[in-house]
Symmetry: C2
Subunit: 254 residues, 2 copies
């Protein structure tokens, strides 16, 4: 039985605790956080819920706090033995180098509280200081997911940037589209099938082969008309830059 | 039995012909186009495949050609009776005003050849010169889809712009993400579950409530680091403008 402490009470911590509690080989010894209110959501998932300085030695300590809180939280952990990992996409593994055994367990997904997730299909990217630690992380990761990959800190950083494009930026494009609908008394439901189909195509194909639209055709007349119809300055800028990027991309390839 | 001529041999024409051939109440009298090669794909779907000037009078003529080809094609149609519609998101209905009975039948989807589509869930936006024509178009549209809505030409134009955000721009974000993966020896498969989950959340929720990431948090340090890691000028510009737009959007709302 591997004992685990989870530090953090946010979305990643919650989803990890939810997934790990079903695994017989793992026991969540404690979940640690500052806010008693946030900790109260974990009472059924862990043997104890405490503040970080009250944590007791365990086999694996998972630090699932905000990127800029990692360094601060390390100062309050009262032990140095066992394997320490963080779950961040953008923080280097070296931040944990004060511990002999350290690594990263990065689940590549956007976690929203209350939106249930099946961990089975979420890729988990792992990295560790020693080969023996990779074996331990591989085992934990495969208990959670069927997609496990060892990647380096520099690769993880790039992957995180790519994830910003795939998640944050597409979601803001959806938001702009919804706002355009709302201002014109149109239901966003009209666009939801297109949105879903666009994603589905990129899941099954190379997205560059699926590109369509005025910018791909370098149809500057339609682009100018569309820009004229957008009254919001930020919407205009996004339309303009993305159209330029698409036109340049496929112009180069022709 | 309503007789239909389809003008055009592109993706929209093909998907419409595929969907309409299954409907007993409609008969595809002819498909018309310039290229014999393109027309040959329609031989099993229509009674005849001809050039536009050889078309014969029918009840409903569907003009499914590129936006900038609509006006040109009208000059070669050898009759003026019956109902004429185009399928464009951005062209006004008035382009067909030379015909007593005219309208628009706009299926809101991105059609790619060879990617099968179930028309049932594709919203069809209709508009017509007279109420009686709306009835005709409503019937055709409901034969194809369960989502039919009457919208005006100005609304359709805005909807088409919103569709560019939801389809063209998100797809280019996917493409950039794939390129970042490829340059760093990472499989794009690592991002596909995130991509799909992001779309799924926007199908079931309001996307503005699902926004996460450094720009939403106004985390300028991470944004600067990410920009520093992007070496492609176009990728940098897209990252920069979308981050600014997101920060401004949620900054205003706070």
């Amino acid at each position: 039985m591997t004992t685990i402490n989870i530090i953090g009470t946010g979305n990643v911590a919650w989803h990890l605790a939810m997934a790990l509690q079903n695994e017989d080989e793992y026991a969540i010894q404690a979940v640690a956080g500052r806010s008693p209110e946030a900790l109260s959501q974990f009472t059924k998932l862990a043997t104890s819920c405490v503040s970080v300085d009250k944590l007791q030695l365990c086999d694996l300590t998972i630090i699932a706090v905000a990127d800029d809180a990692i360094k601060k939280v390390l100062k309050t952990i009262p032990y140095t033995e066992g394997l320490f990992v963080h779950t961040s996409g953008s923080v280097s593994m070296e931040v944990l180098s004060m511990y002999k055994n350290h690594g990263v367990l990065y689940p590549l997904q956007s976690f929203s509280k209350g939106i249930p997730l099946d961990f089975t299909h979420i890729p988990i990217c792992i990295e560790a200081s020693h080969k023996s630690n990779i074996k331990v992380l591989e085992k934990v990761a495969f208990a959670l997911s069927e997609k496990v990959q060892e990647i380096s800190s520099p690769q993880r950083k790039k992957l995180h940037i790519a994830a910003v494009f795939v998640n944050n930026f597409t979601n803001h494009c959806y938001t702009i589209a919804q706002d355009i609908c709302t201002s014109n008394e149109l239901s966003f439901d009209l666009l939801r099938p297109l949105l879903q189909h666009t994603a589905q195509k990129a899941v099954q194909n190379s997205p560059s082969k699926m590109q369509t639209g005025p910018a791909k055709r370098n149809d500057q007349e339609t682009i100018a008309t569309h820009l004229g119809h957008l009254s919001d300055r930020q919407q205009q800028k996004v339309y303009d830059i993305l159209s330029q990027a698409i036109t340049a991309y496929y112009g180069k390839k022709l």
